[in-house]
Symmetry: C2
Subunit: 374 residues, 2 copies
């Protein structure tokens, strides 16, 4: 760590699945890892102290949202994202690219970068490889992402290729802008076109990034097409760098992503679903508002040792949710994040003990019961 | 405790202020005490585990709300309010009377009791001294309240007298219905009319209740009139029973209530204000959305040792609040409840050390600065 931004070592493999350790300025991260999303420097519904007790080693912050509010000047003045939210673990930030292309911001894409207007007050902003990496560096994150264009699903091969080539030029400019203490990951694009994915890996994989991500997935394509891309692309990525599958996914997706050799994941699913009353359990997803839980005094998931599952019942969780109590979001978020983190821990143990195949089979079979055992 | 529902001892006095201990089936409560309000069996925005770490010894649940949702049959089946919310401390419930008269429920008052319709679905319900005490007993609370009529501010002397006499008849019926393990407090009414308050104390104080409350205050009357009632009534209450001032109040109100000899308080103010971004500090109330906090990296209240004040800044709290993050309610509630509990602890120490007068003067002077020092 003395002379590098991060260090990464694969400590065990089981098929293509990898067990590893990623060392950052804010601690060691056991991979494969799931990163809870803290869009506005807050993992929604939780205090940072509650989050820390759940034990994630790294979280994600969104550059786009934080550059608008509170703004990078203020964030830097306040000591960066760690100090701002009182978080001592590692932080990875996205580059803002995904939000620019998914939030339908009023934007204008040029070779130089993207002009856009805030979705809040219409104020004008500009993001480019240089400004995105600069902002992420000023946020003080442990890992920054290269600025990329994330094309929509359904564009033509020619359109995806054109976008990918822009992302490649921006990747080199992003790396040239890496001057601070933040590590920088490159992003492979190419849509659902495997020939483009291959060209993108050859280009991005050859650049001196600290890690490589698969971007442009989970943007509306069918799940099968997504995993065609992941299964094709992941093995082509540099073996000595962490591999990050952006914006994914469901518990099954995490298991299947690890199977393909992915080391890092992030997704709003556990936190967003928590607020919507959809809870992940060892026997599948459940909608806590369901009337069958009204008099159910059992823990949400008897296999889970989180505060939610060890202190209150399904009936109480349903009561809070159906009555719009804020505590419903808190209890549900605690559980869903715990479930994701526990799943990753189980995955890591299975890979380390060379039993990932049987773990995967058992998990997917039990989870596919879809809550019928609940 | 072997042969009584609660025990109460005054352990020290300082002027009219009393330091005491109230022993319940769920622990000993140091008085004067503030009871956070958990209307729907949830102190809003907090998990029960978070609440417990803040250290209140007793909380309040609302009979009216809980009899509608989840309903008393279900609540009893699920083991009562303690088990339902995973709370091991003491619980006091109101009788439902206040909600019936303040929520403008569709209601019909008769000698027998009150017919009303749910504000949720219009379903018909009936509350009487017998059903209210019965429901509170089935909820398993440590302390139940007699069923009373809480008249609005501004009624004539004759109207208040008529209402008070109904409350007196209902008080005797409430006591006759006390058959379970829950203690039962009587409620003194009489509006702002001191002659009626005197008659009500004579009536209610002479009945074998486990404690006596001053009800019908904080219903719209000017603060000065409220304290005219409290200062007049409190010294008339039985000295050997706990004295409870219902629905009060601000930090100043708590200090002034203790001055009059009150032992117990409850109010939604710390939790409701937290959700509205109004925070109580040792130097007064502050509105956290205020722009002057945007770049303020100091703790909300440097005198406070709660998780909010020891882990994040005013700037972060403002950021969360202005961006509608759920965590804003959580952080703010943690602080406001901590502030109220710390205030009561300071009050108890001052009474025990016979320095309450100087404590009161210093507190009110500092607090009256209204956040100008923030």
């Amino acid at each position: 760590m003395a002379d590098s931004r991060i260090e990464f070592h694969v400590t065990a493999t089981d098929g293509a699945a990898r067990r590893g350790q990623l060392t950052t300025r804010h601690g060691v991260i056991d991979t494969p890892v799931f990163m809870p999303v803290g869009t506005m420097a807050s993992v929604k519904s939780l205090t940072t102290e509650q989050l820390a007790r759940l034990g994630p080693q790294i979280i994600l912050n969104n550059t786009y949202h934080l550059m608008l509010r509170p703004g990078i000047d203020l964030l830097e003045k306040l000591g960066g994202v760690h100090k701002f939210m009182g978080w001592n673990g590692a932080v990875l930030s996205d580059s803002g690219g995904f939000q620019l292309f998914s939030l339908a911001a009023i934007r204008k894409i040029r070779e130089e970068g993207v002009e856009f207007r805030s979705h809040i007050d219409g104020a004008a902003y500009f993001l480019s490889p240089e400004t995105s990496v600069g902002i992420q560096t000023r946020m003080g994150v442990d890992i920054a992402m290269a600025f990329d264009e994330c094309p929509a699903y359904g564009l033509s091969h020619a359109e995806i290729e054109k976008s990918m080539l822009l992302t490649h030029r921006w990747a080199r400019r992003s790396l040239a802008a890496r001057t601070g203490a933040s590590a920088l990951f490159g992003i492979v694009q190419g849509g659902i076109h495997l020939d483009l994915r291959k060209r993108s890996v050859e280009e991005i994989g050859a650049i001196d990034f600290d890690g490589v991500a698969i971007g442009g997935v989970s943007v509306g394509e069918p799940k099968e097409e997504m995993f065609d891309v992941v299964n094709f692309t992941a093995p082509l990525l540099p073996a000595d760098k962490p591999r990050y599958l952006m914006g994914v996914g469901t518990p099954e997706d995490l298991v299947n992503g690890v199977t393909a050799g992915i080391d890092m994941f992030d997704c709003v699913m556990p936190t967003r679903n928590a607020r919507n009353g959809t809870l992940f359990t060892s026997f599948g997803k459940v909608a806590i508002k369901n009337a069958r839980f009204a008099a159910d005094d059992r823990p949400l998931d008897p296999r889970c040792s989180c505060i939610t599952c060890t202190t209150v019942s399904r009936a109480y969780l349903r009561h809070l949710y159906t009555n719009d109590e804020i505590a419903a979001a808190v209890y549900n978020t605690i559980h869903n994040i715990s479930f994701y983190l526990d799943l990753m821990k189980d995955i890591r143990q299975a890979v380390a003990s060379n039993s990932f195949g049987s773990f995967r089979e058992a998990f997917l079979s039990r989870y596919a019961s879809g809550g019928k055992d609940a």
